[in-house]
């Protein structure tokens, strides 16, 4: 019976409304006069100058939209490498470079070395290096490689998390440490891989450790000195979670006192993980921050009957006080490690004759949610990739309708649950274009054979229990890249990739979308049709976040880190899986840049330039 159910489920799961990029361009009737497929828009606050990239997602809304247009469909095929920078560290590279003024800021994975590069000089030489020397014991506590997913700039400081559960601020001019605060004890399994996010005088940081039996936390630190402005745990009593009178979840099953305790057996919430390790978004009009929480601990669900709030959920909080405004649990009693940490992109959409302030969230569970960000109501929840664990999300309750065949069993292999723990999409962030009204995301196509084991909590060791054999989903390709309509909840176009597409995305004012692949290709794609306009092979995998910026020479550049690691190890036995790397690639039209190529006619050390050889002598 289980098998036949599973077969039916698989058939349902495969029926994704999809259009290949090889198919004709989208129906013109779907495109409004202004060129938008959906009419969706966004607030691009803080409205940085077009050529700058001062935060990981460029704006508070997490759109990763660059208004730059110098690189366009007419010249994108001429993109060449202008310069590169190797940082020497061999763990996975997941962050986006920041460009503030004439300086680029980079931070490596563990040991989290920061570099400032001078973009005004030939070859972007190093201005300063900062070595924080984090505790190496963190290496053994980080579940999914020793990565860092981003860094922040604010008030003349570069601020970022160290793997060992510390946050550090560095003087952006001198590279000297300004402050460092210890946020947790790394030997208990809490690490910090999250991209610090700044709004005004506060920097928002969250913990990692979903597989280590931690109790997740999210906090606001004061940019000035790193002191804690507020801290909210993600499990436990309401008081510790900053849940009070302002908290109004949309769905009744998430209303009640101390649900962060009562939806767990005994005191298991204390090891309930729910670590908020993903990106943070901010709405300046509502003054709210949005972030997700990780899977519950342990990963074996039979050990923790109950909803397990607030794991695999999304929080809206007042940015100033930290008080929770609403929450929504994507996957109640998460049995598959589907998490809720993926990014939330804040956009405004036309909806039944009115404009609604929403957020779009591609969950690991395979459903893309369009949620009213003022109250937590799910407007749209549709499948964006292959899954077979749920037949749908019931919009009247907000709950998934789970397929019986997808439940894991202790000490028994359950075959072909889709997706596996890594999801249909992971932390790698999507992008939104106000020109097309679409979102763009790198996603996965995979399944697992799952055997669960009973585990016990031993501090500082994995509190896990999932034994998995993961394999590619239908079609045999592990990855895809999609364009998504967040109003209708459907794909507009898609491209298949051999390996999981772990890359972040940038979309530009020229309707070009840039993303990379695990087998080391960096691509530019037409945002409207999905046609690949340019591809460049780089040294290792791309599983970071590309950016577009304007150099001091008023030239547009595209930059992206290459260096395999992180969760990409799932594909390590796929033929062609790349070796490690640590190189930032910077591209421009024809590879041109300050002092590069034929314009770099002297060495720095020989300045001032030697007297030119007369043309006549040069011919001898």
């Amino acid at each position: 019976m289980r098998k036949s159910l599973l077969a039916v489920t698989l058939l349902c799961g495969a029926a994704i409304p999809a259009m290949s990029a090889d198919a004709p361009a989208p129906d013109k009737k779907e495109v409004a006069a202004n060129g938008s497929f959906t009419g969706a828009t966004a607030n691009f606050a803080p409205n940085d100058p077009a050529g700058q990239w001062t935060r990981q997602a460029r704006d508070y809304a997490n759109t990763r939209y660059s208004p730059l247009t110098q690189i366009n469909k007419a010249n994108v095929a001429r993109l060449r490498i202008a310069w590169t920078f190797s940082d020497g560290q061999m763990y996975g590279h997941e962050g986006a470079p920041l460009v503030v003024g004439d300086t680029m800021y980079l931070v490596t994975p563990f040991p989290n070395i920061a570099y400032a590069l001078d973009l005004s000089k030939p070859g972007a030489p190093i201005k300063w290096v900062f070595q924080p020397n984090p505790d190496p014991r963190a290496i053994g506590e980080a579940c999914c490689d020793k990565v860092l997913r981003g860094w922040a700039y604010a008030d003349g400081k570069l601020i970022y998390n160290l793997l060992d559960a510390n946050t550090v601020a560095v003087d952006a001019q001198t590279g000297k440490e300004v402050w460092r605060v210890k946020l947790d004890d790394v030997t208990n399994g809490t690490t910090t891989t999250q991209a610090a996010f700044v709004v005004g005088d506060k920097v928002y940081v969250g913990s990692s450790g979903g597989e280590l039996g931690t109790n997740g936390w999210f906090q606001a630190l004061n940019v000035k000195d790193g002191s804690t402005a507020w801290k909210a745990f993600t499990n436990g009593p309401d008081s510790g979670m900053l849940i009070g009178p302002q908290f109004k979840p949309f769905y009744s099953w998430m209303v009640g006192k101390d649900l962060g305790v009562t939806t767990w057996p005994g005191e298991m919430w204390k090891q309930g993980a729910s670590a908020p390790w993903g990106f943070v978004s901010y709405d300046p009009d509502l003054n709210e921050v949005y972030y997700g929480t990780s899977n519950p601990g342990p990963r074996t669900p039979s050990q923790r009957p109950g909803l397990n709030l607030w794991s695999s959920a999304l929080f809206a909080r007042d940015a100033t006080s930290g008080q929770a405004k609403w929450a929504y649990q994507f996957t109640p009693h998460d049995e598959w490690d589907y998490d809720g940490i993926n990014e939330n992109v804040l956009i405004d959409i036309p909806w039944k004759g009115a404009r609604r302030k929403v957020l779009v969230h591609f969950n690991r569970n395979g459903f893309a949610y369009t949620i009213d960000r003022t109250n937590g109501e799910v407007l749209v929840a549709e499948q964006f990739g292959h899954q077979n664990w749920a037949s749908k999300i019931d919009l009247t309750t907000g709950k998934p309708v789970v397929n019986d065949a997808a439940h894991p069993i202790v000490e028994k292999k359950v075959e072909n649950i889709c997706p596996p723990d890594i999801g249909v999409k992971n932390w790698n962030p999507s992008a939104f274009s106000p020109r097309t009204g679409l979102l763009y995301a790198g996603i996965f196509n995979s399944c697992m054979d799952l055997t669960n084991h009973i585990v016990k909590y031993i501090p500082g060791s994995p509190y896990d229990g999932m034994e998995m054999v993961r394999h590619a989903g239908p079609g045999g390709n592990w990855g895809e890249f999609i364009a998504w309509d967040p109003v209708k909840g459907k794909r507009v176009w898609s491209l298949k990739e051999d390996m999981m597409t772990w890359s972040g995305v940038v979309v530009t004012g020229s309707d070009l979308v840039f993303y990379g692949t695990l087998d080391g290709w960096f691509r530019a794609v037409d945002a409207r049709t999905g046609k690949v306009m340019w591809s460049q092979k780089v040294g290792s995998a791309i599983m970071s976040q590309p950016i577009a910026f304007m150099g001091p020479d008023k030239r547009e550049y595209i930059a992206v880190y290459s260096g395999v690691g992180g969760g990409a190890g799932v594909n390590r036995r796929v033929n062609g899986f790349p070796p490690g790397g640590n190189t930032l690639y910077v591209f421009s039209v024809d590879g041109a840049g300050i002092g590069l190529g034929q314009t770099q006619l002297r060495t720095n050390a020989s300045m001032p330039a030697p007297v030119s050889v007369p043309p006549a002598a040069a011919h001898n």
Binding site: R137, I139, E211, I458, S461, P462, D464, E467
Partner: protein, 112 residues
């Protein structure tokens, strides 16, 4: 009979303080020790880092021939008992010397 032999081996195993890099595994080749080590590998959360098939994940692959801290039985014992500076916890207070040798035996069984 197998159980009796196993008990005898355990009784004669050296105290943990005496283990050096060149100490021979007192349980080498013992099938019961392999199975006991297998059980401990899951029970003590070793599998959480090194995977249930020992091919690694959070922590290193234990089935290949690359050993950061030595491949001799005594060296593997030492790595488990004392941990490493790069995040492997020390297990000497959570497992007995005999249990650690059982885990060593299980790991060695994957290298034949």
């Amino acid at each position: 009979m197998r159980k009796l032999l196993f008990a005898l081996v355990l009784m004669t195993s050296p105290a943990k303080a005496q283990v050096t890099a060149d100490t021979a595994n007192p349980l080498a080749g013992n099938a019961d020790a392999v199975e006991a080590g297998h059980q401990l590998f899951g029970k003590m959360n070793c599998a959480g880092c090194h995977a249930y098939d020992l091919t690694g994940g959070m922590g290193p692959d234990l089935t290949d021939n690359s050993w950061q801290y030595g491949s001799k039985p005594g060296e593997i014992y030492h790595t488990i008992a004392e941990g490493t500076p790069r995040g492997m916890p020390a297990w000497k207070d959570k497992m007995t010397a005999d249990e650690i040798w059982q885990v060593v035996t299980y790991i060695q069984s994957k290298h034949q």
